[in-house]
């Protein structure tokens, strides 16, 4: 959100030119990545199937939301504070409509998530409403609407067929397969379709995109639509996993998702980044959490150490980007 500095300089006594700074940052990234890998692999029990499975599960739920958040961040709209609530609400919709059969219910849940975020995207895209305020409004409306619709009760499945979204295929948790599918589709849209390139262009320089004749409003709306669809996928997976749902299901997912996006190295100002980077970000955070758990750190130390590492990684990335 801040401006471009007049002159880049490190006040740490070093002055680095563009290319050299990039080399230094690359070296630090490689060393950090290697360090995490060695640290993880040397942890007893990390490579056990149980730990890998729980890692994959943890990645899948939050990862889908983070992929969705990537689209919002990449179009220059910072973040949405309503994605966590969208996850919970679409989980409730999925469970409630399960009597229609599992695939219709899945489609209804996705459609619900898409409509919720499409309205926000249209407001942000077509009349440039403030994305943070719009997302806070959506958060309030979702929480209020859900409380009235459910009467504050937990929602239990109205039909059978939840096992499509849990269990294993060839030893891999199904959730992870859905997540990797989301990543592949997301990256495909971003890199290989016209609308995906337009999203990056809009985030990188809105005025230039308008001048180039890009339909910026449509690009932003589609980014929000994709975010809603991804969040709804996460909601469906969570609903299947827990077998029931309430609005607490996705609480806090917004912050974890944006942390994953930033740790992956997508620029907060928009215009640069990718879904695969977000995959890396989610994985790094999950690996750190698993390693800390296996090494016997208590919950509170896990929070603190994860926070410090996220802060350090974000600093590292932005130093590399801002020249």
């Amino acid at each position: 959100m801040s401006d471009v500095p007049l002159r880049s300089r490190f006040r740490l006594g070093v002055r680095l030119g563009g290319a050299r700074a990039r080399h230094v940052v690359l070296a630090i990234r490689v060393i950090a990545g290697g360090g995490i890998a060695i640290f993880a692999l040397s942890t007893p029990g990390f490579t056990s199937p149980l730990s890998i499975n729980s890692l994959l599960n943890a990645i899948s739920f939050i990862g889908c939301v983070a992929v969705g958040m990537t689209f919002i961040t990449i179009t220059g709209n910072i973040m949405s504070l309503a994605l966590g609530a969208t996850v919970s609400a679409s989980a409730l919709v999925f469970l409630a409509s399960l009597s229609l059969g599992v695939f219709p219910a899945f489609l209804v849940a996705i459609l619900f998530g898409v409509v919720i975020t499409a309205v926000q995207g249209a407001l942000v895209g077509y009349i440039r409403a403030n994305p943070l305020l719009v997302s806070i409004a959506a958060l309030s409306l979702l929480i209020g609407g859900a409380a009235i619709a459910t009467g504050g009760q937990r929602i239990y499945p109205g039909g059978e067929g939840l096992q499509v979204f849990k269990g294993r295929v060839a030893g891999i948790p199904v959730e992870a397969l859905y997540f990797f599918g989301t990543v592949i589709i997301g990256q495909f849209v971003l890199s290989w379709t016209r609308i995906g390139r337009e999203m990056i262009m809009v985030g990188s320089n809105l005025r230039a995109a308008i001048a180039a004749g890009v339909n910026t409003a449509r690009a932003i709306t589609v980014a929000y639509v994709l975010a809603g669809a991804c969040s709804a996928v996460s909601g469906v997976l969570l609903a299947a996993r827990y077998g029931s749902g309430d609005m607490e299901l996705g609480t806090g997912y917004d912050y974890t998702a944006i942390a994953a996006v930033l740790v992956g190295g997508t620029a907060i100002g928009g215009g640069s980044g990718s879904v695969v980077r977000t995959l890396v970000g989610v994985t790094v955070i999950a690996i750190i959490a698993t390693v800390l758990l296996l090494r016997g750190f208590s919950q509170q130390w896990q929070y603190l150490i994860t926070g410090l590492i996220v802060l350090a990684v974000i600093m590292l990335h932005t130093i590399g980007e801002r020249r």
């Binding site: 009349i127 919950q299 410090l308 996220v310």
Partner: protein, 334 residues
Amino acid sequence: MTRMAVLLFNPTARPFTVMIGSILLLALIDRGTGFFLSVGTFFSVMQLFATFGLVALGLGLSILIREFDLSVAGIVGLAGCIAVMTGASNPWLGLLLGVGAGLVSGMVQGLIMTRLHLSSVGVTLGGLLTLQGLTYVLTDNKTIAYPNISVALELNAPIGGLVSVRSAACFAVFVLAALAMTWTHIGRDVIATGSDRRAARIAGLNTDRVVIGVFAASGGCAALAGVLLSYSLGAASPVALADVLATAAAAAIVGGVSVVGGRGSPMGIAAGVLTLCILRSGLSAIGVEPAVHDLVTGFILIAIAFLDAPELFRRVTSWRLARAERGVPERKPP
């Protein structure tokens, strides 16, 4: 523009219009039953104001300079826990340490941003997670009770039935901030930094110092809110108030702080916070269930987002022109 439109669209006047509008609306719904327009409701509005007001002020100041301080939510929790843990015998010591921790963490984040030229969202997100972690470590993941219950009673004791010591203190900070922003060079510097940082720097303003100062102030405000809240609840828990950040951001933006920077005032922010607090306690005073508050708040936020949208008029005009062209083809401009 007619006078009504000025009241609604002028960003400086609007926070107050919206606030008075919501008071009138609630009074109308209440229709003289006396549940809404009562001293009790005023008191509870002010108590809510004391909880969210200072956080919104700090966050609003950071939005004013085109940054966004996510870490306020973490600072509220940290400062509350520090105060409760150190201030059992001497509440002033707890207050000092709690607010000090907020000032220092804000300043450190400001230093990181300005020295390394980083964006505030990233740094304060890291800061938020780190501060929350620190709070969990300090409290050992437990709720800490505050034994000195007389402090809690004193803080919440009504003065003249209208305000408590806590809400009066909170309001005093707002007045101080408003005075500083209006009558000293601080206000001018902050507005200049928010409007166009590069121009401000070329004009000879040390914008880095302004940024660090604003983040320190933001941390200090959030910390004060956290300390007062924990003292008056008689307990502090590492589980942060989940909705504090969203509420504070909404209040600041309702209060007329522009997200593109350089526009906004402490009194506007106060009006924004009061609007949300009036809706919350006013609606529950007239017996509306809590879920409806969320809906009403959501609709008001959407309405403000809609009115504030920079492209709204252009879209409406071009839509009208297009319709006129279709309907009355002979009037088509050459």
